[in-house]
């Protein structure tokens, strides 16, 4: 494999991890807000119990993605900096508000509810902003003016495909988090919360798939190159759909306690579903980073830096795997934590 392909694969992997974790994180914040009104419903406890120890780790993956992007592809810096300063800058303001308010809401009980609502709402706006970057990279929203790249904000804000992407992001977030929290609740022996989240997942699942397919039809004419590539990677998207059907079916099978929903299987299938979808999307995106202005080859760093980074990534991940395992054991498995 070419070095730049390895690098972009690492990058897509980080993006994959972040989009999974981020969906859970933002989604759990949303459910925590919805069910937090009546103080002690199991559903909000479950959401918060998941959120408390994990948001920090999730946030680091966002930074990891950004740093890896600029490290492996430094020549993308000037274009990305000019194009995305405003949307990402706004996203950062919201992210800061969300993070700090979420943590503060545990310390100041009297204003806890207000802080929780604000962090819940910003938790929907942030993914919307982040996802709106995707259509830009597919083409049609950038002009060149006297040597400068400019993002056409007007066109972006009035374009149908932007909103389709945003809708897709939000649906994904609801679907993944509801599904995961159903599993989490069921492991925590709270069947009523599990069934509640299961219902949300049953609605959100098919909606997400439909929105995803429709989004493809809303793409700008400039992005037709991408559709051609998608046709070449249909097997990846097909696998993804198949895995979705498996996962969705698992929601209707009875588990050991006689309740409907084999949640663990459902979660695994759906995570794999997104894996296939993201890598298929990523391969269809090649060779461009930002169509038609920048290819990954043009943005790629020099070989000696690439190998140094590769080794650092491998060592770093190797050190972290046991740490993540411990984390998993303590917060996602330990009965004493889950059933308190």
């Amino acid at each position: 494999m070419e070095a730049s392909i390895i690098a972009i694969t690492i990058l897509w992997s980080f993006l994959y991890i972040y989009s999974m974790l981020g969906s859970l994180d933002f989604g759990a914040g949303f459910w925590g807000m919805i069910y937090g009104k009546k103080n002690n419903t199991g559903a909000s406890l479950i959401a918060n119990r998941f959120l408390s120890p994990t948001w920090e780790v999730t946030n680091v993956f966002l930074v990891l993605f950004v740093v890896a992007l600029y490290s492996f592809f430094p020549f993308a810096a000037s274009m990305l900096g000019v194009l995305f300063l405003l949307p990402i800058g706004l996203g950062l303001v919201l992210l800061t508000i969300r993070t700090t308010f979420m943590v503060f809401s545990h310390s100041v009980k009297r204003y806890g509810r207000l802080l929780q609502v604000i962090s819940g709402i910003t938790g929907i706006l942030i993914p919307a902003l982040l996802v709106s970057i995707l259509p830009v990279t597919l083409g049609g929203f950038i002009t060149m003016e006297n040597g400068h790249h400019e993002l056409l904000y007007g066109k972006l804000l009035t374009s149908f495909t932007t909103y389709a992407h945003i809708l897709f992001g939000i649906c994904t977030q609801f679907f993944l988090s509801a599904l995961f929290l159903a599993d989490y609740a069921s492991v925590s022996k709270d069947p009523s919360a599990a069934q509640l989240y299961r219902k949300h997942a049953i609605v959100a699942g098919p909606v997400t798939i439909v929105v995803a397919v429709l989004t493809l039809f809303t793409l700008e004419p400039e992005a037709s190159w991408f559709l051609t590539n998608v046709e070449n990677h249909l097997y990846g998207f097909g696998m993804s759909l198949l895995l979705f059907l498996f996962g969705y079916a698992a929601l209707f099978l009875k588990n050991r306690d006689g309740q409907r929903g084999l949640f663990r299987y459902a979660v695994v299938f759906v995570v794999l579903q997104y894996g296939f979808a993201i890598y298929a999307y990523g391969s269809s995106h090649l060779p461009y980073m930002v169509y038609p202005h920048l290819t990954i080859e043009e943005a790629f760093t020099n070989p000696s830096m690439f190998y140094a980074l590769l080794i650092a990534t491998i060592i770093g991940m190797a050190i972290l795997v046991p740490a993540f395992y411990l984390f998993w054991k303590l917060f996602l498995k330990d009965r004493r934590y889950l059933e308190q």
């Binding site: 992210l95 700090t100 770093g316």
Partner: protein, 437 residues
């Protein structure tokens, strides 16, 4: 222009929380450790209370750190292009250090009751290692900007990149050590400030007094040790400047003419017209000694350099503030330690009053130090390689973002202090002391 102000203020904001984020884990470790040795439950309570404050601060630290991390990429595309090619390694490793810190922070915070004491201590030690590691790694990137190494530029292109040479650039060790010990020093004085403030109150019980006294003693001793280390290593840092960044040293001291037996100017304002530092106290030969350990060391003056490469001359004041505060805190904590532990006398109220200023002063020194280091490098972003103007973005939206972020920072400063006060008012030490009494 706005890009510089936006980035400078973001860092200035982040650094307050980040420095405490590096320093406080050490205080927690010390308390946990004292608890294991003395079995005195006061120390366990202390560890828990510092942890609670730490958890609030770290949220802001992470959020603001995410901002600087991403803004750095967006505001300085020219710079990032260089960074990515030459000094990406510490940036990437840093994130792994963050991950270690984040994972074990959650474990320490939310699983404390399910861990054995040894594992608890182990996880907070890993938090501390992750925090120091990230500070050292980001400092490495900063050190490389000051003393770039590990590449050549041919026809405007970067060639012969050696990531390890860049990583271990000439100023790395001195700077990394300086940042670490000054962060520990700051955390110690902040703790001492809090304890001294509580001890000033009249109506506290005997038990509270004894609790705060223990906190005061630990942080005072640590503060003294760390300010000694900071001063000693600051001396080394100044020698590093002398060797690799003479222009910055000259600006720091307002030295215009190259000379041996160069004087150290304390206070005053550098005046460009008369080429001197006005209203300053001059110590003959001291600058030469600082730079090379000998009074006859020759120190380069500003006139050796083209005028358009001079940093702003007010960096002299920033340098004075940092060194002044460092010296002051060193002397004051040494005095208090001798008073208490050698002369074995009781503290007097005015001593506490003096000490309450220690924490804020240390934070001011940190800010002054960073501003000195970054502004003293001007007009270069990467010394002698890239000018600040070449590094900046040309996006039109920087001004708008600046006002947004400035508002956010000010709001957060208030909200964090409100949350801290609210929490610790609701949960006074008395409550913790009685709970298990």
């Amino acid at each position: 222009m706005y890009a510089r102000v936006l980035f400078g203020s973001s860092l200035g904001f982040h650094i307050i929380y980040a420095t405490l984020g590096v320093g406080l884990p050490l205080m927690i470790i010390l308390s946990e450790f004292m608890h294991i040795i003395t079995k005195d439950r006061h120390y366990a309570i202390m560890a828990r209370r510092i942890t609670k404050g730490f958890a609030i601060l770290i949220a802001v630290s992470i959020a603001s750190g995410t901002i600087v991390g991403v803004l750095l990429s967006l505001l300085w595309p020219g710079f990032m292009e260089m960074v990515g090619q030459i000094i990406a390694l510490p940036f990437l490793i840093e994130i792994f250090a963050f991950l270690i810190e984040a994972v074990f922070m959650s474990i320490y915070l939310y699983a404390a009751d399910r861990l054995s004491p040894a594992m608890r201590l182990g996880s907070i030690i890993l938090v501390a290692i992750g925090a120091v590691g990230s500070a050292i790694l980001i400092t490495d990137a900063h050190a490389w900007m000051n003393t770039p190494d590990g590449f050549r530029i041919v026809n405007g292109e970067v060639v012969d990149v050696d990531p390890l040479d860049a990583f271990f650039n000439p100023s790395f060790f001195a700077t990394a050590l300086h940042v670490t010990v000054s962060a520990y020093m700051t955390a110690a004085f902040v703790m001492a400030s809090v304890a001294a403030f509580k001890l000033l109150k009249r109506n506290i019980t005997k038990e509270e007094r004894s609790y705060h006294m223990k906190g005061l003693k630990i942080s005072l001793v640590l503060g003294l040790l760390m300010s000694l280390a900071t001063a000693a290593n600051g001396h080394e840092t100044a020698q590093m400047l002398h060797e690799y960044m003479p222009r910055k040293l000259a600006a720091a001291e307002g030295l215009f003419e190259t000379q041996s037996y160069a004087p150290l100017a304390i206070g005053g304002f550098t005046d460009e017209e008369s080429e001197s530092v006005k209203f300053a106290i001059e110590i003959p030969g001291a600058l030469s000694f600082l730079a090379g350990d000998r009074f006859d060391t020759e120190v380069l003056g500003l006139n050796e350099f083209p005028k358009d490469e001079w940093p702003p001359l007010f960096v002299h004041t920033l340098f004075n503030v940092m060194v002044g505060i460092g010296t002051l805190l060193l002397l004051y904590s040494a005095f208090l330690v001798i008073w208490k532990f050698v002369l074995k006398k009781e503290f007097k109220p005015w001593m506490f009053a003096g000490l309450t200023a220690g924490g804020p002063l240390a934070i001011i020194a940190i800010e002054a130090g960073w501003c000195f280091s970054c502004i003293g490098r001007q007009p270069w972003t990467i010394t002698d390689v890239m000018r600040t103007t070449e590094a900046a973005t040309d996006s039109d939206y920087v001004g708008l973002l600046f006002f947004l972020f400035a508002g956010l920072y000010i709001a957060l400063l208030f909200i964090t202090s409100f949350v801290m006060r609210y929490y610790f008012k609701r949960n006074p030490v008395m409550k913790d002391l009685q709970l298990e009494g």
